[in-house]
């Protein structure tokens, strides 16, 4: 089996998230927010495969909170009293400033969520931990504990489905997940104990070597970040 290193260091991808997020947080320009979102999207699809189904689900989940945010700002926006009226719906006056603020906040929230989620979907968690251990001196004991924790989720999911089925067969009713807290805690502690013993017995130590070397090449991305910040600043002045 041939091991293929990732095309892009996960650490770079991780910091790239912030490079896209910070200008969105600083800017007050709706178009710039969307431009950054599109740029982030192009950047991601260039390196990684994205599951559009997941992105679609996020958009669905965001619709209600975003509408709520829009309406709330529209009604309670400060300083909108003297602003010109944009429209009137069922006797309610929509002020220009309130509308602009609502639209801007919605666009910012939407873009922040989408950019964060885009990177969350594309980052390989195990490669990120390896990159942190190799490039940012994350202690190996912490790094491998994190990896074991990620593995535990799959194990515990299996355990949960078995315990739930045992409950269903025994009490002939569907179970409220909180009722399975105790057996799940026992299962999790057993897993933690075994994983800890496994790491200790396999000689985990600081002087270890790595089969997969993750090299960090942040310069290009830092340059990208500088350019984006420059655009964001200019947009603000305008």
């Amino acid at each position: 089996m041939k091991f293929r290193p990732p095309q892009l260091n996960e650490l770079t991808l991780f910091f790239l998230t912030f490079i896209y997020l910070v200008p969105v947080l600083l800017s007050e320009n709706i178009l710039l927010n969307f431009l950054l979102l599109i740029l982030a999207f192009i950047n991601i699809i260039f390196f990684r495969k994205i599951r559009f189904k997941h992105l679609g689900l996020l958009v669905l989940f965001l619709i209600i909170p975003l509408i709520s945010l829009f309406v709330t700002v529209l009604i309670y926006a400060k300083g909108a009293e003297n602003s010109p009226i944009l429209a009137e719906i069922f006797g309610f006056e929509i002020k220009q400033i309130a509308f602009n603020n609502a639209l801007f906040l919605v666009s910012r929230t939407f873009c922040l969520s989408m950019i964060s989620f885009l990177f969350l979907l594309s980052i390989r968690y195990d490669a990120l931990v390896f990159a942190l251990m190799q490039n940012l001196k994350l202690p190996v004991s912490v790094g491998y504990s994190l990896l074991a924790t990620f593995n535990a989720f799959a194990h515990l999911k299996e355990e949960f489905s078995r315990i739930r089925l045992a409950y269903k067969m025994r009490f002939l009713k569907k179970v409220f997940p909180l009722k399975l807290l105790m057996p799940m805690l026992v299962s999790a502690s057993r897993f933690a104990y075994s994983a800890g013993l496994s790491m200790e017995s396999r000689g985990l130590n600081k002087q270890k070597t790595f089969l997969e070397l993750v090299r960090c090449v942040p310069i290009r991305n830092i340059e990208k970040g500088k350019i984006l910040c420059f655009f964001a600043k200019n947009a603000e002045r305008k």
Binding site: M1, A195, S198, M199, E212
Partner: protein, 369 residues
């Protein structure tokens, strides 16, 4: 032959903080190069603890009171550096809990990376020279190979007349992502019948149990309970007649007392030999006791059919005998069983029919009397 000494143990004993019983060895024992040693004993006798001691995990990683000497190549094992300890390989009972990384290659590389290696050299030794037996009192004795009970023989359950047809499987097929696991299976289970299914790892034994339990659904074939397709029966009605015993008995435990697990039915505890453990926490029982308690839980449900997934996993000879006895008693009360296992001697002693699941097909095998 002049053999190099690897391990030397002198008056070794270890006691867990919460245990009254200590694992002890009075005298000296040496383990030499090119030797393979078998350590045998009952469930809970301390076999794993003995291995932890050899690995140097006692008493710093696993707390307790350690007495005596354990020398690895002339050096006290507790004084070995983690780099030196890593040279002593250790394979745990539960492989799933031993995995740390996400991919196979990372997992294999992990040990080698800790040894600061880039390549692995693997060699096997094939000579068995002796074995160590750990008795019920926790005392370790060195025995000769001739004393090992190599073949396990269990008493066969008597043949009894079978009743009506309960489960019928017709042309059952199942596949995971175009991988055909089961291909056109046919068999039936009658009242008071015990059917065993044997097969290699990944043959589809557990998948078959899940299909019968209605956890998985098949697009091809039919499973009926009392002539009714199980897909048309509500889960409440179906599970009132059927229960599944998982490989890990802890999956059945929900309460903090043994007594509560079986809803206060002390008769059942007597039958499974756990009458003195009513107030114990089920999770703190020994492996054999846990297995018997999980059986008691299912028995207390008064179901008609039981599906057992690897019931003898991690069980010693005595516990297997108790299990056979229990299954016999349950069958006398009118229960039927489908048992999936790798343990052919066990299946041979309890089953009326044994099927071999191979390449997706089911073939009946001969029962040996």
């Amino acid at each position: 032959m002049n053999q190099k000494q690897i391990y030397f143990l002198e008056n070794f004993s270890f006691r867990y903080p919460y245990s009254e019983k200590a694992i002890q060895w009075s005298g000296n024992i040496s383990i030499n190069e090119n030797e393979i040693l078998l350590i045998s004993g009952k469930s809970g006798a301390g076999k794993s603890t003995f291995l932890y001691a050899l690995k140097g995990l006692l008493p710093d990683t696993i707390f307790g009171k350690l007495k005596g000497k354990i020398l690895f190549k002339g050096k006290d094992v507790s004084q070995l550096s983690s780099f030196e300890k890593a040279k002593i390989g250790f394979l745990f009972q539960n492989p799933a809990a031993q995995m740390i990384n996400r991919t196979v290659i990372q997992e294999i590389a992990f040990g080698m990376e800790n040894l600061q290696m880039k390549q692995q050299e693997d060699y096997l030794k094939d000579s068995v020279s002796g074995f160590i037996k750990i008795g019920a009192n926790g005392k370790i004795e060195k025995k000769d190979l001739k004393e090992i009970p190599w073949t396990q023989k269990f008493p066969r359950l008597p043949n009894i007349s079978k009743g009506e047809k309960l489960i019928e499987i017709k042309n059952l097929s199942f596949s995971y992502d175009n991988n055909h696991i089961l291909k056109g299976l046919n068999f039936e289970l009658r009242k008071k019948e015990i059917i065993g299914i044997i097969g290699a790892n990944g043959a589809g034994k557990t998948t078959l149990l899940k299909l019968i339990a209605g956890v998985l659904k098949s697009k091809n074939g039919k499973i009926s309970y009392k002539h009714e397709n199980i897909e048309h029966i509500s889960f409440k009605k179906y599970y009132r007649n059927l229960a599944l015993l998982f490989q890990n008995p802890e999956n059945h435990f929900l309460f903090s007392e043994v007594e509560r697990e079986i809803a206060g039915n002390r008769k059942i505890l007597d039958l499974v030999g756990l009458n003195k453990m009513q107030k114990r926490n089920p999770f703190t029982l020994s492996e054999g006791e846990k297995r018997r308690l999980s059986l008691a839980i299912l028995w207390n449900l008064k179901r008609e059919i039981f599906l057992f997934d690897e019931p003898t996993f991690g069980q010693d000879y005595e516990n297997k005998n108790k299990l056979i006895e229990l299954i016999g008693k349950m069958r006398e009360k009118g229960n039927s069983f489908i048992i999936v296992s790798h343990d052919y001697p066990f299946l041979n002693s309890v089953c009326d029919k044994i099927f071999l699941l191979k390449n997706g097909y089911l073939r009946e095998t001969q029962i040996q009397n």
